[in-house]
């Protein structure tokens, strides 16, 4: 069981991720709608893992990733990307994202990825 923070501007995606991870016994400690909120939630909640969407208003996923990593160099961040975002995902990898998952994904794949990051 791990404490997970979900950052995504689409309520639909947040719910999808939440349902899948909760099924696997994880606890969703927080949800945020943009990078800025995600960062402040991260500092407040200190989750074990963050799922971070890339395209968001106010502060996008890359900037949030950089900020989170600046605050906590060991932060475990799973980027949630979509097809066609190769360039941005590459930047995320350079900025310290543990890995990324590409929409559309199955709940199994998500759980598997999250668990791998957590066990690494």
């Amino acid at each position: 069981m791990s404490r997970i923070l979900i950052v995504d501007d689409a309520a639909f995606m947040r719910t999808t991720i939440k349902m899948a991870l909760e099924k696997a016994g994880h606890v969703i400690v927080g949800e945020a709608e943009n990078g800025m909120e995600g960062l402040s939630q991260y500092i407040k909640l200190k989750p074990d893992l963050v799922t971070l969407d890339i395209t968001m208003p106010v502060m996008n996923g890359i900037d949030a990733l950089k900020a989170i990593r600046k605050y906590d160099n060991n932060a475990k961040v799973l980027m949630v990307s979509a097809m066609g975002q190769e360039g941005i995902v590459r930047e995320a990898v350079l900025s310290g994202a543990k890995t990324f998952i590409v929409k559309p994904f199955s709940s199994e794949k998500l759980i598997q990825t999250v668990e791998k990051i957590l066990s690494a």
Binding site: T55, R90, K103
Partner: protein
């Protein structure tokens, strides 16, 4: 995909969110059109919206929608680079609208539980062609940039190539899991992780930025050749941390072997270091400055059905409360404490009611904004110029009412553009500015909301209306007796249409009367006013809410009726001689010098009662749309809040009793009929 958990709530959420996003998108495009072109913020926002729709739709496996959204996202990704000087924003808007319409249709199908077999291929092709055209514009520039970038990197990597050789050399082949997507970037991430602990790293495929190399990696694996000071097991440990790794082949090479060609299959370039670091990264800028972004709100979305249910329950509670407090068993008892408790209950019930009402209130903004699109589309088609000015869109009305006025409003706005606003030449000839104005305004007035659609077009032609009405036998009194307003309001009668030719948008002869009918079903009314050559104004008067109203109970014989308190002007007992009969036999009453017709309820509904003399009963003066009627009943019973229930279907449809708006339950459990003042006044 997501089959292993219930999709229902997700689907609802998907539909809700996507519809909201589409609305935002539409507004953004319309705003952009007004300002001649897309601002940086708008492009970012549109891009983000398309991106979200794409992701969500892909998750729900609505591939048509997802593909189309992807394609539109690409388009705005291109625009985002901002290199293109000649952007045909009007053409782009048209394409995006086409896309929006497609997605909307699909969403409707999803809502109805139909399969979404729509194919957006045509739109996608169109957009892709446009993207190619755009890219064609700048390909020369970007090639040049690429070369320059590569050159710089080459220099950098050459200077890094130092004299020192680490101890060990390795070859690794990595295979990723099937379907992990973006293999090239995953490979890139492996290279990135090895950067600090290796040197002289080469890999195949070389160009990891080229998305097509993902196929190679899938087929042959990702091959890396490097030197490092670390031992085999350390290197293996690092590589095994790769997520989505299916298989790893790691071999240690002899130093001489390392430089042999042939180590990596198909290395077709002698200087792989050149491309090791990617030259360019498409960056997305922060959107901090974006004012368009939605702010966080503590808002919960609730199923409307639940709210309806809650409303019903509160209604039942109001009735139950009345049943307790006005219980006949209590008659004649002196119950001080009970009265106190009853008052408190009454107060709380009212507060709950107000709160539930306020939850159901929705602002008119979304409904009004929809009209922008209609005006735009029609102006384009009809080759007219008109702008829509919206005021008071923050006014709130009951959710149920919004649903009822959306269509009529659309109709009125269409009419305004089609029949009201003239062509630019005509306008200029009559001394007006070429661009017509349509005002859409909402404001609260007591328990009503007034919605006005006003155009500055040519106005209604009185003579034409009279001629038509006469032709169709719609005149109910002589021409000379009619006020201008009464004449204009003739257009609301069923079967009336002033335009002979029919356009795509309006004038099919089922126009205004349908609007009037729709508005009447929710207890509202329509008023038409017009001034020749300066425009037409149509006002919809709409009740704030339908469900609970203040009512006055009256008695006729043994029957109880309820009148909406709002329409009662006054009630009084007539004196001898105030009433008289006009030459046609209609009973009238004289009040402060004005004559009003009297309606005997007992006669109208054929109810047996002892009170038939005006001086024994009571007269209630009611008003509807500036028309006044005096209703004669036996007695007033008192005022109370009533919950409006519609009449059973068979009474409504088969009996067709005039003048009834619905029914309600009284405190003693008996049923009271609610009178429809409008129906009585015009009946």
């Amino acid at each position: 995909m997501s089959t292993n958990y219930s999709n229902e709530p997700l689907l609802d959420m998907y539909i809700f969110e996507t519809e909201q996003l589409l609305g935002q998108l539409e507004q953004l495009i319309l705003d952009s059109e007004k300002t001649d072109g897309f601002s940086r913020e708008a492009i970012d926002e549109i891009f983000r919206i398309m991106h979200t729709i794409k992701g969500s739709s892909a998750m729900m496996m609505f591939n048509g929608v997802s593909n189309l959204a992807h394609c539109m996202e690409d388009l705005f990704y291109c625009l985002r680079d901002g290199k293109y000087e000649s952007i045909d924003s009007s053409y782009i808007s048209d394409m995006v609208f086409e896309g929006i319409d497609f997605i909307k249709e699909e969403i409707t199908k999803i809502k109805n539980g139909d399969t979404t077999e729509g194919d957006p291929l045509i739109i996608i092709k169109k957009i892709n062609t446009h993207i190619k055209e755009l890219k064609g514009d700048v390909s020369a520039v970007s090639d040049h940039q690429k070369e320059a970038g590569a050159e710089n990197l080459q220099k950098a990597s050459q200077s890094e190539n130092s004299q020192y050789y680490p101890k060990y050399a390795y070859k690794a082949v990595l295979h990723f899991e099937d379907g992990c997507e973006m293999e090239n970037i995953r490979a890139f991430s492996v290279v990135h992780n090895l950067k600090d602990i290796t040197s002289e790293l080469t890999h195949f495929p070389e160009d990891l930025l080229n998305n097509e190399c993902s196929e190679d990696i899938k087929k042959n694996g990702f091959q890396i050749l490097f030197r490092s000071d670390l031992r085999y097991d350390r290197i293996q440990e690092v590589l095994l941390q790769t997520i989505f790794l299916r298989k790893l082949e790691l071999t240690e090479l002899e130093s001489e072997e390392f430089n042999k060609p042939g180590n990596i299959k198909k290395p077709d370039h002698n200087n792989p270091a050149e491309k090791q670091e990617a030259p360019k990264t498409p960056k997305i800028k922060t959107q901090k400055e974006s004012q368009l972004s939605s702010s966080h709100q503590n808002i919960l979305s609730v199923d409307v059905l639940k709210l309806d249910k809650l409303m019903d329950l509160v209604g039942e509670m109001v009735i139950a409360e009345a049943m307790v407090i006005q219980n006949p068993d209590l008659d004649g008892l002196e119950l001080n404490n009970f009265q106190k408790a009853a008052q408190r209950l009454d107060k709380i019930t009212k507060e709950i009611q107000d709160m539930v009402m306020s939850i159901r209130m929705v602002s008119l903004a979304a409904t009004f904004q929809k009209m922008n699109r209609i005006v735009r589309d029609m102006c384009k088609k009809l080759d007219k110029e008109a702008k829509l000015v919206i005021t008071g869109e923050e006014t709130e009305v009951d959710k149920n009412i919004i649903e009822h006025i959306s269509d009529p409003l659309m109709h009125l706005v269409r009419n305004a553009v089609d029949h009201g606003i003239e062509s630019a030449q005509e306008r200029e000839a009559s001394g007006k500015s070429g661009c017509g104005t349509i005002m859409l305004e909402a404001k609260s007035a007591g328990r009503d909301v007034l919605i006005t659609v006003r155009d500055d077009g040519k106005g209604l032609r009185k003579e034409e209306i009279l001629r038509k009405a006469k032709e169709k036998g719609l005149l109910y009194k002589s021409e000379s007796d009619m006020t201008d307003r009464e004449i204009y309001n003739l257009v609301l009668l069923p079967g009336f249409s002033t335009k002979d030719d029919i356009t795509e948008y309006s004038g099919r002869g089922v126009g205004m009367d349908v609007v009037a009918k729709n508005i009447e079903t929710i207890g509202g009314s329509v008023l038409v006013d017009s001034t020749p050559n300066s425009g037409t104004t149509i006002t919809l008067k709409i009740p704030l809410t339908l469900a609970i109203i203040d009512g006055m109970n009256i008695k006729v014989g043994k029957t109880v009726f309820t009148l909406p308190t709002i329409s009662i002007m006054e009630s009084f007992r007539p004196k001898e001689g105030e009433t008289f009969t006009d030459p046609e036999g209609n009973e009238m009453i004289m009040v402060r010098g004005n004559c009003y017709p009297i309606l005997r309820l007992h006669q109208y509904y054929n109810i047996a009662t002892d009170i038939t003399d005006f001086t024994d009963g009571i007269v209630i003066m009611v008003e509807h749309d500036d028309k006044t009627l005096c209703i004669f009943a036996d007695d007033l019973l008192g005022q109370q809040q009533i919950v409006v229930k519609s009449l059973p279907k068979y009474i409504r449809d088969f009996k067709k009793i005039k003048g009834l708006a619905g029914c309600t339950l009284l405190g003693d459990g008996s049923i009271s009929l609610i009178l429809d003042i409008g129906g009585l006044v015009y009946g």
